[in-house]
C-alpha cells in the first residue's frame, strides 16, 4: 500500500520537533504521546494497528500490536488526518535530547531496521513490525538486544537518535566497528554482528566491554553519539542519593538493581524504564 506523501520541516537543534504538513485527506501516524501541536482541521484518532494494509482482520491486528509492544511502542498508534480544507500542520516532538532523522523509505529500498523505540512518526501506510535478532551473540552482546524495529513502506518516516547522529554509507565489504548501543538504524543489507575486542587486557580495562558491534556494508547506517540510556545512567549515578538499587535477593527476581546497559538489561530492559 502506498504511503501518503507528506511535507515536513524539522525545527530545533538538539531537542527537535518535526512539523508535518498534510494535504486534505492525508494522514500521519505518531507514537503515543509524541504529538506536540496540531492545527484546526486535523482529526486525531487512536487505532489498534499501525494503519498499514498489511494488518488485516482482528487477529492480524492483535498479533501485530502485541509484537509492537515488544519493540517498545505502545499497543495503539494515533492517526492524525487532515479533515479540513487546505494544508494543515501537525507536529511531533522528540522525547529526549538528540536528533530527528527523516528517512525516505523509498530511497532506502523500502525497509529499515531500527533500534527499539526509535520510531517517532511517519506518513500513514508505514508498517511497523519486529525484527527479531537471530544471532545469539549479536543479540546478547551487540547492544541492541534481540528485538529491533522494522519499518517498511515507501514514504517518509522519522526516527529519533540520542546525542549527535552520524550517517555513513558503507561500501560493499566496508566494515565499521561501533560501540555497543550506538546503532540507531540500518538498511537490512548491512551485516550486523559482534567481534571480540582482541586482547584480554583491553577487554577488561578498556571500558568498551568485551565485544564491539561490527557493521559491514553495503548499506547506510545511522549511529548516535549518546544513547539515551547512557545519558540517563550517568545522571542517575550522579544523583545525591547514590545510584543503583540493592542487590537482587534471588537469581532471577527479587529486589531491584538491574544492570544498566549490561547483558541482561540490554535484552530484557526497555529503552525508557
Amino acid at each position: 500500500m502506498a504511503m501518503d506523501v507528506i511535507d515536513y520541516k524539522i525545527y530545533g537543534s538538539e531537542m527537535q520537533f518535526v512539523e508535518i504538513e498534510l494535504d486534505p485527506d492525508e494522514a500521519a501516524i505518531g507514537e503515543a504521546g509524541s504529538m506536540m501541536y496540531m492545527e484546526d482541521g486535523i482529526d486525531m484518532d487512536t487505532i489498534f494497528g499501525d494503519g498499514s494494509a498489511q494488518q488485516s482482520g482482528f487477529f492480524g491486528k492483535l498479533l501485530g500490536a502485541g509484537k509492537r509492544v515488544l519493540t517498545g511502542e505502545s499497543l495503539f498508534t494515533t492517526v492524525y488526518t487532515n479533515k479540513g480544507q487546505g494544508k494543515k500542520k501537525v507536529a511531533f516532538a522528540s522525547p529526549y535530547p538528540g536528533k530527528l532523522l527523516p528517512m525516505d523509505l523509498s530511497k532506502l529500498g523500502g525497509s529499515l531496521i531500527c533500534q527499539k523505540d526509535a520510531f517517532l512518526c511517519a506518513a500513514k501506510g508505514v508498517s511497523l513490525s519486529i525484527a527479531f535478532q537471530k544471532k545469539l551473540g549479536a543479540g546478547f552482546f551487540g547492544g541492541e538486544g534481540f528485538i529491533m524495529q522494522k519499518l517498511e513502506g515507501d514514504g517518509m518516516a522519522f526516527v529519533h537518535a540520542g546525542g549527535t547522529m552520524m550517517k555513513r554509507d558503507l561500501a560493499p565489504g566496508e566494515m565499521l566497528r561501533v560501540d555497543t548501543g550506538c546503532l540507531v538504524a540500518m538498511q537490512p543489507t548491512v551485516d550486523y554482528d559482534i567481534q571480540f575486542v582482541g586482547k584480554i587486557k583491553t577487554a577488561l580495562f578498556g571500558g568498551e566491554g568485551v565485544f564491539f558491534a561490527t557493521l559491514r556494508g553495503p548499506g547506510t547506517v545511522i549511529i548516535q553519539s549518546l544513547p539515551f540510556n547512557r545519558l540517563a545512567s550517568r545522571i542517575f549515578a550522579a544523583a545525591p542519593q547514590g545510584g543503583g538499587g540493592g542487590m537482587a535477593a534471588g537469581l532471577l527476581g527479587g529486589g531491584g538493581g538491574r544492570e544498566e546497559g549490561g547483558v541482561l538489561g540490554g535484552i530484557f530492559g526497555g529503552d525508557d524504564d
Binding site: 525484527a131 551473540g137 561500501a171 565489504g173 543489507t189 548491512v190 554482528d193
Partner: protein
Amino acid sequence: MSTLERLQGQAFGPGFHKSGTRIEFEVSDSGLYLVAEEEFDGKPRWSDLVVRRGGFNDAQVMLEWKGRAGSYALAVADPASVAALKARLKQSAPDKAGLKGTGNLGQGSGTRRWSNLMIWLTVLPVVLPLLLLGLVVWEHERIASWAVSHVPVSQERKLGETVFAQARAKLKLVDGPPAALVRELGARLTQGSAYAYEFHVAEDSTVNAFAMPGGFVVVHTGLLALADSAEEVAGVLAHEIQHVEKRHSLKAIAKNAGLMVTISMVFGDLGGLVSLGQDLIGLKFSRQHESEADAEGLKTLVAAGISPLGMRDFFRKMGEKEKLNLGWLSSHPASEERYAAIDAALKALPPAALQVAPLAHDYQKVKQSLPAPAKPADPAGGSK
C-alpha cells in the same frame, strides 16, 4: 536477447546510489548480468563472484565482486527472486550454490569462542537454578528417602513421643471395647514391624484418624461410628500404619524444607506468591503420600488375611459424605478418587485374597458402646 528471467535486487557500488539502487538482473551460465541504464562493469563472471547469505539475520543473498571502479554488491531480498536465484545457481554455478552465512567473514574464531563462553556464562546462572528446582520436585521421593534414612528409629520414636504428648493433652482418650478392637486389629496388622505401636481411640465426632512418627495411632470415635464392620476399621488402620512404616511425617518435613530452601534460592523473596507455590507443591507431595499409604495398606490387609473390601467400602462412604473437594488444594486426594484407586487395585488381586473369613468381632456391639456424640470439637481433639 536471452529469455532468462529478470530478478529483483538492490545494487551497491560505484555509480549506484549510496543506499542502493533497485535493479533487475539475470543469471546465466557465465555469470550475472545487471540491467542498468548506463554501461558499467555489470557482467561479473562466476569466478569473480562471491555468493553468500548476508544482511540482517542473514536474510538476504549477497553477490559481491570487484569491478574496475571498485567493489560492487548485489543484495537480493525479495523471496521470489531468492528462490529463483537459488535454482539458477544450482544449474549454472553449483559450487556457489551452497549459501553460507556471514559467520566466517566478520567474526574470527576468537570472537566465536568468546561469544560462546559469554553466552554460557549468562545463560547458566539462569538455567541451573531452574534445573535444580525441577530436580527437587521430580526426585523428591528419592532425595527425601535418602535424607530420612539417616534418622534412626529411636530418634523418630522420641520425636513421636513429644508430638503425642502434646496432642494427648488435647485429646479425650476412651477405653473399652472400641479401644480393645482397635488394639487387636492393630497388633494383627503390625506383626514384625520395627516400630512399637500404640493404638488409641479419642472421643471426637469428626471422621478422622492420624498417625505420628514412631508408631502412635489415634482413631476418632466419629470414624468408628461411620464404619459398619471390623474390616472397615482395619482398612483405616492399615492406612495409618503405612504412614508410620513409610516414615511419611519425616519425609514430609524433609520435602517441605528442601522445597522451601530451593524455591527461595531460585526466585528470591517474592512473598505470598512463593509460599503459595510451596504450599501447592507441598500438598501434591502430601497427596502422593496418601495414595502410597492406601496402596501399601491394601497389601498389608491381604497379607494379614483380612478382607480388603472393607477398606474400599469405607472410602465409598467417605466419598458420599464429602460434598466438595478441590483436589489440588487439599492434602488428601478426593475420597472418590481413592475409592476408584482401591477398587482398581482390588480387581488386580487374586480372588483368593478376597475370599477370607470375616473377622470374628461383633462390630455392631462395639459400635453401640461408643460414647454418645458430643458437640463437634475442632479436628485436633476435644475442647479444653
